[in-house]
Amino acid sequence: MEQDINITIIDREGVSHKVQAPTDMAMNLMEVVRSYELAPEGTIGVCGGMAMCASCQCYVLNDTPLPEMQDGEEAMLAEAFYVKENSRLGCQLHITPELEGLEVELAPES
């Protein structure tokens, strides 16, 4: 479909998945992971996408331009574990055409 973008997601077992994500359904990256069932239910998106649990933390692997981090996301990452320089919360990354080609790896469950 025209509105779909291509995203590569490496799951927690290290398996790489190339998936298509729609840009016209108000979805975020965490929801894309859930809809493709790339992580077991209950281990991702626990708070539903409020940037309040960090269960959707992921590492951004390429230089796809991303929206700037808001205070809530930054504060949540300051309390999360396994945080790296390239950590983001999937629930705060809305699927837009600009994200075409994004590559991420899911952070370990904690």
Binding site: T43, S55, M76
Partner: protein, 353 residues
């Protein structure tokens, strides 16, 4: 042994509404929850966030929804076992169940309703190499008994509401409170942040930021924590303390319920959707976010519906063969187990001359 009609596992919105619906059928409920307070996710994760899809409430804060549900069911006098996790279930010869918690509290009921949401909330433990060996020897992930810290030196780590609120509370109890956070900014409610600022200025809270606890020192119990601070130049030092309390939030785990012989699919309990949300074990029901069936939606409002139908099935199990006629609360009023009665005011019939 605690005896009740319906034993509800999980005191979130679905479990609390089940108390009300059961009460209308004169069935008594007791709830078990691993958290120290009722409300489940609504009170633990997002009490100050609004919900927009509770019928009749254009907007309600999750914390207020909990308060309202407790108020709505209070005349049915639910019992609570809080801060304990349901661990084992044993079916008795007469078909009833005994559920035992991790603290050994036993509950006996003919019907068990699992309203466990995403599972029981377990503390998220920081990645400190030797922390496990100090658990219950000065390291506590949840504060259950504040008096434990009376006149003790306490180090709290975390940047959210619970770290802030407990620092404020313990500043009056402990002899010394140190709050350590990875950043200078905190995520808590504004008044909590301001209160900590005030206590810091008065010297009642020792604030160490941006810093992280990276190790624990002690023999058989905590004597100090090793702190790595990165303001201006990176340095490592020890802070003497009797207790180290890491408060990094809680994450839900299905936990022991997964071993109860119930059919599980995608971390949820499979139920009979067409009828009454009973599981593969007769007498055990699963309602709310914890269950799954074709078309399942994890919404609070769906949990309310599931709780209502579950109570009808529980009534039939507890009162076999007894006829039940649906009554509107507006018509029948509500007779509480505490002797109170709520009813619609009588219509005024008066002649106009």
């Amino acid at each position: 042994m605690i005896k009740t009609d319906i034993l509800i596992i999980g005191a979130g919105p679905t479990g609390l509404f089940a108390v009300f619906e059961a009460g209308l059928l004169k069935l008594k409920c007791h709830l078990i929850d691993a958290l120290p307070q009722a409300g489940g996710q609504c009170s633990e994760i997002y009490p100050k966030k609004p919900i927009y899809d509770i019928p009749g409430f254009p907007e309600i804060l999750a914390g207020d929804l909990t308060t309202n549900l407790l108020e709505q069911c209070k005349q049915f006098e639910p019992g609570f076992t809080l801060g304990e996790r349901a661990e084992t279930i044993e079916k008795q010869e007469d078909g009833t169940f005994v559920v035992t918690t991790n603290k050994g509290t036993k509950h006996h009921a003919p019907v068990v309703a699992i309203a466990g949401g995403l599972g029981s909330f377990e503390p998220r433990k920081p990645l400190i190499h030797n922390i496990k060996s100090f658990e219950d020897k000065g390291v506590e992930y949840i504060i259950k008994e504040p008096e434990l810290y009376r006149n003790k030196k306490v180090v709290i780590a975390g940047g959210g509401d619970s770290a802030l609120d407990w620092s404020v509370f313990l500043s009056d109890v402990a002899s010394e409170v140190t709050l350590i956070h990875r950043r200078n900014e905190f995520r808590g409610a504004l008044d909590s942040v301001e209160k900590v600022q005030e206590l810091k200025n008065k010297g009642k809270i020792n604030l160490v930021t941006p810093a992280e606890v990276i190790g624990i020192v002690g023999d058989d119990k905590v004597k100090a924590v090793v702190v790595s601070q990165s303001q201006h130049i990176a340095k490592e030092f020890e802070i003497e303390c009797d207790h180290f309390i890491p408060l990094f939030g809680l994450s839900p785990k299905l936990g022991p319920i997964a071993n109860w012989g119930l059919e599980i699919e995608k971390n949820a309990i499979v139920v009979n959707n067409a009828l009454d949300y009973q599981t593969n074990i007769p007498g055990i029901f699963a309602i709310g976010d914890v269950n799954t069936y074709p078309g399942k939606l994890k919404l609070i409002l769906c949990g309310f519906h599931e709780a209502t139908l579950m109570c009808q099935a529980a009534y039939q199990i507890i009162n076999p063969g007894k006829k039940y006629v649906l009554k509107y609360t507006t018509v029948s009023g509500i007779d509480g187990f505490d002797g109170t009665r709520k009813e619609a005011p009588k219509a005024v019939i008066k002649k106009i001359e």
